[in-house]
Subunit: 821 residues, 2 copies
């Protein structure tokens, strides 16, 4: 009952801030982890608390100690130990100059039923008042608040105790309590408050739910104090524990361990040089009757040193965070960003990421309080494994040149690509670094294949003479976008991106067709034909569902006839216009044109286009950089188009967001057009890090993760597609708002075009900016506008409820915007 109330209270507090939890950075907060169990974490807690309260830092007015998970209770209670020992230490020492009153309290929130009633007084709140320092009447009051959240009776790991005693403590519950504790203000009386969280067991000991503690507390990423192991073998367990913390993205502020005449501390200090402080404590008496008074007296200088080290760690961290907005404005040059339009305080300083959320430093509203967003989201197991795999790949391979070499990640990820997105057509994988380079390679492949198929390269001597007259061009769609390097840009129609101002070398080497598009407005799926296409009353009109749009039976519709004749006409006009120009490749973004404005192209049109090119032996390139890997709800968008390319490009989602890598897949026929006995006919395009082991390892992990129903709960395994991630009803509501022009919702993408006229339209528009700013500042949704289009995009494994939450917030903002306009 108490627990429910407490959690309810915690939840209410959280929800009162629309932005989620903002933790004041001004409070130094540390988490104490152990290299093993029984290494003295609680002694460090007590010693540190005493050093903080009894020191020459009169600014510190309170220490708040939290033990989220306690087992062996009430016989063992680390909070009670700190509560009992710290005041005793303060009284025993006389170093504090002013007469002070310490108000110490101790409380256990949720004892397990097995703890029994007889222990009741122990977990009721206890309080005592102690005087220390100086002489005479107390000049000031300090506070020591010790709290245990969950307590079980059996002295075993919390996950066992929770099971055996029938009191669970879910990750969200534990995190909410920690979050509440972090948010708590007014513990002291105006002075500085320090907070110390003590974990249970070793760094990777399971919490009550079975989640490792280093993972359980990860969303807060509190700076860690690692209590090392001074025993034989302790160097190893301390270093391993340190690495486990690093592999979760923790910063370790100090390592402190008992000195048992094995010089473990000296070894660790020299091994971890420059990275972290290593402090040695005197040997801990083994006699359980020893009250440790002498030991603490002997240790006090170490704890004062620890306190100073933590203080300077904290100041450096805050100072750095405070300066990052200014510094980044001074020295960074962001892509696609007009620096004049980015005020310093709107730069987002990202401290870390966890799941779909960022922990970001911000200065909130006009107040100068500093806030750290924490998140309740889990870092998924897969992401933790990915981090481990990154360390492994770096350690195993380092740099490996690729030509004529092979290593496991490169080969294995190639196999997985061919069995997945390349299934049924591709037989070769060509690696490069990003979408742009993958496209440039694809074009080179297509041009060679076309040239051989059409006799352009049949006779090399003959060719040399004709060379200057032959011009290869691409067939592409208006509004498509294939990347920022010149070769990729040449394959797209003129736009703001391609102006002389941006790329003086751009000429646009293609025939660019105007495609028909599909979108939702006012709950209806509409087809929009380009003006250049004759408007047939049978063809225009709408669809009752998205499934209908993709239905194969449309191949026999009047739209199919219209499209085919339009395409044939365009192609023949082109070939009549010039003898020397050839359309040597078709390049399309299947189904969705991304950077061009999140447009859904009528799949029927693209299917007919592909078929027409194949019949003319024009190689077909699918630019799946954006659409690949479940972006549209299926692994490859070719499943939606129901036709296959000769060449396809992949990047972005391929590596799960961690490192750049791209792959251009090709059929064996394309590959063969580069084979001969001369090195000169080989495909001469490569980058230093081609097929780098880190990227291939990440790709392997990510691709398998997306496909694994036990890791990806969004997967509908019967149909091998993603479940609907964006609430259908809400999408329809959105599409009916008067300030919404159209909505495209498919797979992991939900794009909304806002209505705008005149100068608001186009890429330069700032119309969507206020919306985007609000979402970012008030709702912690980090979207970027594409002209008047704003879009939500999640990962293939993002939980459905996270998508819904985001869409709801967008809907709310759009309704507001509607009212104010």
């Amino acid at each position: 009952m108490l627990r429910r109330l407490f959690l309810h209270h915690a939840r209410r507090r959280l929800h009162s801030s629309a932005a989620g939890a903002s933790v004041p950075l001004s409070t130094p907060t540390f988490a104490i982890f152990g290299a093993n169990t029984g290494v003295g974490k609680t002694l460090v807690s007590a010693g540190l608390a005493a050093a903080l309260l009894d020191s020459h830092s009169p600014s510190i007015s309170a220490v708040s100690y939290l033990k989220p998970l306690q087992t062996g209770y009430p016989a063992d209670s680390d909070a009670r130990f700190v509560f009992a020992k710290t005041p005793a230490l303060l009284r025993a020492s006389s170093s504090y100059p002013r007469a002070t009153r310490l108000v110490a309290s101790c409380r256990t929130l949720f004892p397990s039923p097995a703890v029994g009633a007889e222990a009741e007084p122990l977990h009721q709140s206890q309080e005592k008042v102690v005087a220390y320092g100086g002489d005479g009447a107390a000049e000031e009051t300090k506070v020591l608040a010790c709290r245990t959240v969950y307590a079980w009776r059996e002295p075993v790991s919390p996950h066992l105790a929770a099971e055996r005693e029938g009191m669970a403590a879910g990750d969200d519950d534990v995190r909410e309590c920690v979050e509440q504790w972090l948010l708590e203000e007014g513990v002291g009386e105006g002075g500085e408050v320090w907070k110390v969280l003590e974990t249970a067991g070793g760094v990777a000991s399971p919490g009550a739910s079975g989640r490792l503690q280093c993972d359980l507390y990860r969303p807060f990423r509190l700076p860690a104090i690692l209590v090392g192991d001074g025993r034989l073998g302790g160097i190893s367990s301390t270093l391993s524990a340190y690495e486990t913390l690093l592999l979760r993205g923790y910063d370790v502020s100090a390592v402190i361990l008992e000195d048992r005449d094995l010089s473990n501390d000296k070894f660790l200090l020299s091994h971890l040089r420059n990275r972290v402080h290593v402090l040695a404590l005197p040997q801990i008496p083994e006699d359980p009757l020893d009250d440790l008074t002498d030991w603490f007296a002997e240790s006090s200088s170490v704890f004062i040193f620890l306190k100073d080290a933590l203080q300077s760690f904290h100041s450096r961290r805050i100072e750095r965070l405070n300066s990052m907005q200014r510094k980044s404005k001074d020295i960074l040059w962001w892509p696609f960003t007009q620096h004049n339009l980015v005020p310093q305080d709107s730069v987002t300083v990202i401290d870390s990421r966890c799941g779909e959320n960022f922990s970001a430093y911000k200065v909130r509203h006009s107040s100068s309080t500093l806030n750290l967003f924490s998140s309740k989201e889990n870092c998924s197991e897969a992401l933790i494994e990915l981090a481990r795999d990154m360390g492994y790949a770096a350690a195993r391979y380092g740099h490996v040149m690729f030509p004529e070499n092979v290593h496991e990640p490169a080969l294995h990820s190639a196999e997985v690509l061919l069995e997945g997105v390349g299934k049924g057509w591709a037989s070769r994988v060509y690696y490069s670094d990003n979408g742009s380079t993958a496209i440039e390679i694809a074009l080179k492949m297509a041009f060679r294949k076309f040239s051989l198929d059409h006799g352009i390269l049949a006779d090399s001597e003959e060719f040399t003479k004709r060379e200057r007259n032959i011009q290869l061009k691409v067939l592409a769609l208006k509004g498509s976008y294939h990347g920022d390097t010149l070769g990729a840009m040449e394959a797209q129609a003129p736009s703001a991106y391609t102006s002389f101002l941006q790329q003086p070398w751009y000429s646009g080497r293609g025939l660019f067709l105007d495609p028909p598009t599909v979108y939702m407005k006012s709950e209806m799926y509409n087809l929009s034909l380009p003006q250049s296409m004759p408007h047939d009353p049978h063809t225009s009109g709408g669809f009752s569902s998205q499934a209908e749009v993709f239905c194969k039976s449309r191949d026999k519709s009047s739209a199919a006839d219209l499209y085919l004749s339009y395409i044939k006409q365009q192609l023949s006009e082109f070939s009549l216009s010039s003898n020397s120009e050839h359309l040597a490749a078709l390049i399309i973004e299947p189904v969705i044109q991304g950077a061009g404005g999140m447009l859904m192209i009528d799949p029927l049109f693209q299917r007919i286009l592909v078929s027409e090119c194949k019949s003319r032996k024009i190689p077909v390139i699918f630019d799946e950089v954006f659409t690949g890997f479940w972006r549209l709800g299926v692994e490859s968008a070719s499943e939606l188009l129901r036709c296959l390319p000769d060449i396809a490009c992949y990047a972005k989602l391929m590596t799960g967001g961690i490192v750049p890598l791209a792959a251009t897949l090709a059929t064996e026929e394309v590959f063969k057009s580069f084979k001969s006995d001369s090195k000169l006919t080989a495909l001469l395009h490569g980058h230093s890090y081609t097929a780098h082991a880190m990227g291939c390892t990440a790709a392997l992990k990510a691709i398998q993760w997306y496909q694994d129903p036990s890791a990806n709960l969004n997967l509908d395994t019967n149909h091998m597609k993603l479940k609907e991630l964006w609430d259908g009803a809400l999408v329809k509501q959105l599409s009916s708002l008067p300030n919404v022009k159209r909505v495209v919702s498919i797979g992991t993408l939900c794009a909304i075009e806002l209505k705008a006229e005149g100068s608001d339209a186009g890429y330069a528009s700032l119309y969507a900016s206020s919306l985007v700013q609000q979402l970012r500042k008030e709702d912690d949704i980090y979207v970027r506008p594409l002209g008047n289009v704003i879009y939500l995009m999640c990962g293939p494994c993002t939980p459905q409820d996270s998508c819904s939450r985001q869409l709801l917030k967008v809907h709310r903002r759009l309704c507001d915007l509607n009212r104010t306009h």
Copy 2:
């Protein structure tokens, strides 16, 4: 004495193979690591040995056990325990069907002096013969060979024992013994031999030198068996130890641990699901007098399961390695590679990297033996830290969009870039993915700056009319190479890379000057002027040293006058030829043109060119993708040129070889030319992974590593340059060989052009191939030819002796080649 002899023997064996150590993969070999000390590693060794010898696998004829480092000797001797216990277990069990004779031996090679003479018999070789299995006369003989290498008396960590007892065991010594043990054949009598190496203490316990054991044995990367910890806290220490092994690139084949009723094994099994076997052993009796017979009897099924798991792990590994050459030929498409010219067996299968060496799977000569190259080289501390940092960055950040955001690695690496290679001129960092993209961005920057400075974009309406007529071109040098994307290619002179066959869209948008080059031949530094330049007898001729080439006093030489008038003439000819064409950027690779053939350009010429362009307000781009970060012995090649650019591009060495990342640095003046109140004037070029946290973290680490004298022993801190890495005398000898046309040796680069005429010349040449093949197959030097140029290239921190060894091998091969031609 014994030790010297032994090591001498080991060394001789190694050197008898020119290729270094080749370890037969057919022998299953495993390393036993512990999650902590005292977790029962030796019990696992003995139990496994018994399961291997007493099983239904009659093919196994021998087990060879090695304990490289033993402390607490002779009271403790793990080898002796295995030697004593295994035969007893075999005799006690009756599961082996055939009557067998076991020849068991035990030997300690190097007891410390403190062990004392009284223990002498213990470390003399002991042997005993035991009969087991079946009835009657022995049908076969099996062998158990147990060996301790180094043994100290004190029961402490080897690094302390070694120090206290005055018997060191250097890493190389220990590794040589392990290597010899791995190479040992004929332990059994024709059947299968298994080898088991048992480490001391926990995974990260120090060896005798203080190097952690996981690092000490890393060059062999033996598949690991991790003996976990079944005690309270053991989940944490086992998982941390597992992660420590992964962070060194080990594969863990099985985790095995004592079951102490805490279900640690069940938790670990579920946590590590699909990744590794987890086996539970019955609780180990704590009574030291227990002879463990019952425990082993109870455990035998677990050990048989372990044996089977290891066997299948081994088979899968071998099978995979055996198939990788074929599979990679089938599905990979290597850049810059004519697949027809790569026979399957010349594909190098890289199992792992350590320091400068690869561990590579190969089929040697005509024999079908499989070999695994191991290496004596250390993986440097910095690289281990880099792997750790990669795991940390992945865990902390995951994917972060960059525009308008900032995170610590992006900001910090930008700071380090501006304080280093950008010092004195650059104020902005623009990140991208590789050298090519960095160049395309640099060109966009330069063109905008030029257009604004020269009034081309002054009036946008006016401009629109003139747009089509204005053509911006680059001023560049013949033979320079700036990358493979179209924009980068357009900035280079025509070559085999730019033919219609390779890139039909290439037109070569530049004025390409023929530069003077400098090289060494017959011990002399020569200057070679291009034919297009008037040959002045005062100018040609040589230099006595490389320092003279770079001397600033040459600014007043007759060569300077010659260069200046040549440049002025070329520029004025260009401007006379067309009104609409502008040279809007100078782009050069400072000092060394890399991919174009490792040519050293006369720095005086480049300096004058830069100065002339600056005076004409033509923005100057340094393409430092190849030359940057100590490639030429100094951090930036601009230090050698003694002049500064407006824009410079960095990649390759910037991230220490681990992940792709590039940076384009620019002056504030260049940056300002993109500022306005319109988003349309921003630099619209970006990639999804721009400024990815992994790359920036790697860059930060690598750049700091190169500059840190304690980590980079090549650094001459007085002059902030690298010491000479290529032995000067040897370089001179090379330059005098009749089949050598020229040598360029500077910083980390030593390039040798072979003499070749006619069809041998140029990029298509296969002339250098036989040399390259020999170096690869016989000398384990992985060089790639550039036409007739072969080049050695090391990292900024590669030890000098490693460079010398490689250069010696090349010299030897060239001398041989000389004799046979």
